[in-house]
Amino acid sequence: MLAKFIVRRALAAIPVVVGVTVITFVLMHSTAGSYVPGLSLNPNMTPQEIQLLRSQLGLDQPLWIQYLDWTGVAWVMQHVGLGGLLIGAHDITPGMLEGSFGQSMVDGTSVTSQVFDRLPNSLLLTVTAIVIGIALSIPAGVIGAVRRGTRTDHLLTGMSVAGVAVPSFWFGLLLILFFSVQLHAWGLPFLPSGGVETPFTGGDVIDRLAHLLMPATVLSFVYLAVWSRFTRSSMVEVLSQDYVRTARAKGMGDRRVRYVHALRNAIIPLVTLVGLELPGLVSGGLVVEVVFSWPGIGLLAYQRALAYDYTMVLGIVTLATILVVVGNLLADVMYAALDPRIRLA
């Protein structure tokens, strides 16, 4: 049953991935098709040299062949004897089939190696932020629910409403302003304002944690705001259930009822909510990565976009989307394994 479910979901994901590659590819090449970076900087290039450069980048082929080459379909066609259909094609590569999502127009580096170099940094940041978010939002939500209507509850609700409205890049700048610039100016110990570690001298655990602290705090802020409100309302609902009253009626203490019986049921929906953030593991930290110069996938996409490195951006977006789709698939399978009702739906 579970195996059938997995196969069904995996098959449903294939058209989505294919569609996404078409959308991003068409979007990119319909406007940037003949663009070659650096061309405008070098007015002395002869038409022959330009032609050679465009040929090397494969830009002289028809658009549909470029797409088939990029995805690896052209390579398959050539090897099953349909190569004659690819009129005007040259230098066909296996493309995505060998894990290559193209190469940079600017420095020729491979998209795949660049993305996987940065992936651990991005995951470190987002996973830390999610852990901080969970660790703080559950207690905050429980306190709000247990002390419903009190000043503490109103304060927590107010903070979470405000938390959603704070622009993360502004919050990041304010933190840098105080914890890096101001503390440094006062001659106190200060936090580093960017990067994953101090170059040359740093790299130990303390140094890396110091670098992680501010970006992870900023990123966890929105999670915290949303999840604490959710935990609160879920907890309020659970506390009014019959089994809570029963537990209390048989003489169980407040603490035990709240933290053993009620809380366990209240955080089940939170699991789903946290699961919804899985796609954000790869891309969710982009703005924060830029503010704190955190060398993750987001910063990579940002820098390459500013350099008009079209093929690199196209590759990053496609690869990140595939990671997201695969991540969603894994999450679905996990839910199905945990909850039989989903499998049958």
Partner: protein, 307 residues
């Protein structure tokens, strides 16, 4: 008459008057609006947004008659002048007046916010309506397309399109809406599916109503509440996204002032000129907060599922 009827009228149509306990029948809309008015925080937030919108519309008059500064006029004698009588909220590295630039920045934030939400409601609503109404392969095709668009991480899609089009306020709205419509389409489709097979639809169709009439006169009014709620909850997130894109340099480019690109610019100088980073951020925060509070109030008042 309809919707304003009293007990006497209802008796005429044969409805048992006793079960209404003297409460006049009222339309969904007047009841929802009344509920919205009773929400004091929501009303205050609504007026705050209205005030900001008026300020944004009057920006040329304000800079001419109130602050006497042009938003892009440079004055090298007042580089980094702090907040005070000359420049109320200080000046930046080329002596441009921060207050004036914030007023003009409101045009970008609110303009893009409202235009984007309109675009995504109209387009997403249309797609959801068509997909839900026709069903079958039309539905499958449209919803699969929605799946694809929503599968691409939004921020990447924004950046991809921004480097292709070098946006102004209108194209930036289209870029942000090109992702946001997917969620609206799913919502509206769901609503249409729940209404489409009711008896009144069959009755209307048997009276000879065309597909277009069925969709616009009978399905759309039923989907309108979720569209209104989605629109009012969406504005805050759109303003945040727009500011983030400006900040990253993929949105409105200088010299046109926007809150996001003012913050981006302030990054270089904020160690000594703190006002440059404080005020634009406060404006974004206050605007998004007001938009979200108003959105929450609208949801509480209009969402039929919360009844």
């Amino acid at each position: 008459m309809i919707g304003q009827g009293t007990i006497e009228e209802l008796q005429l149509t044969g409805v048992d008057a006793a079960s209404f306990a003297g409460r006049p029948a009222r339309s969904y809309w007047s009841e929802s609006l009344e509920r919205l008015r009773e929400n004091r925080i929501g009303t205050a937030a609504g007026y705050a947004i209205l005030f900001l919108a008026v300020v944004a519309l009057l920006a040329p008059l304000i800079s001419q008659f109130v602050t006497h500064y042009d938003p892009t006029a440079q004055d090298l004698n007042s580089q980094f002048v702090g907040p005070g009588a000359q420049h109320w909220l200080g000046a930046d590295e080329t002596g441009r007046d921060t207050f004036t630039r914030l007023v003009w920045g409101a045009r970008v934030s609110l303009g893009v916010g409202f235009l984007t939400v309109t675009l995504q409601i109209v387009f997403g609503g249309g797609v959801g309506l068509v997909a839900g109404f026709f069903g079958g392969w039309v539905d499958t095709l449209l919803m699969r397309f929605v799946d694809m668009v929503l599968a691409i991480p939004a921020i990447f899609l924004f950046i991809l399109m921004s480097i292709l089009f070098t946006p102004n306020a209108i194209t930036l709205s289209m870029i942000i809406a090109s992702v946001g419509w997917g969620g609206v389409a799913r919502l509206v489709r769901g609503e249409v599916l729940s209404v489409r097979n009711r008896d009144f639809m069959l009755a209307t169709r048997s009276l000879g109503a065309s597909n277009v009439r069925l969709m616009l006169r009978h399905l759309l009014p039923n989907a309108l509440p979720v569209m209104i709620v989605a629109a009012s909850l969406g504005v805050g997130a759109i303003i945040l996204a727009e500011a983030a894109l400006d900040f990253l340099g993929f949105g409105i480019h200088p010299p046109t002032p926007s809150w996001g690109n003012m913050l981006s610019n302030a990054q270089t100088y904020f160690a000594h000129s703190i006002w440059l980073v404080i005020f634009p951020g406060v404006m974004i925060f206050v605007t998004v907060l007001a938009a979200n509070l108003f959105g929450n109030a609208v949801r509480d008042a209009f969402d039929p599922r919360l009844r």
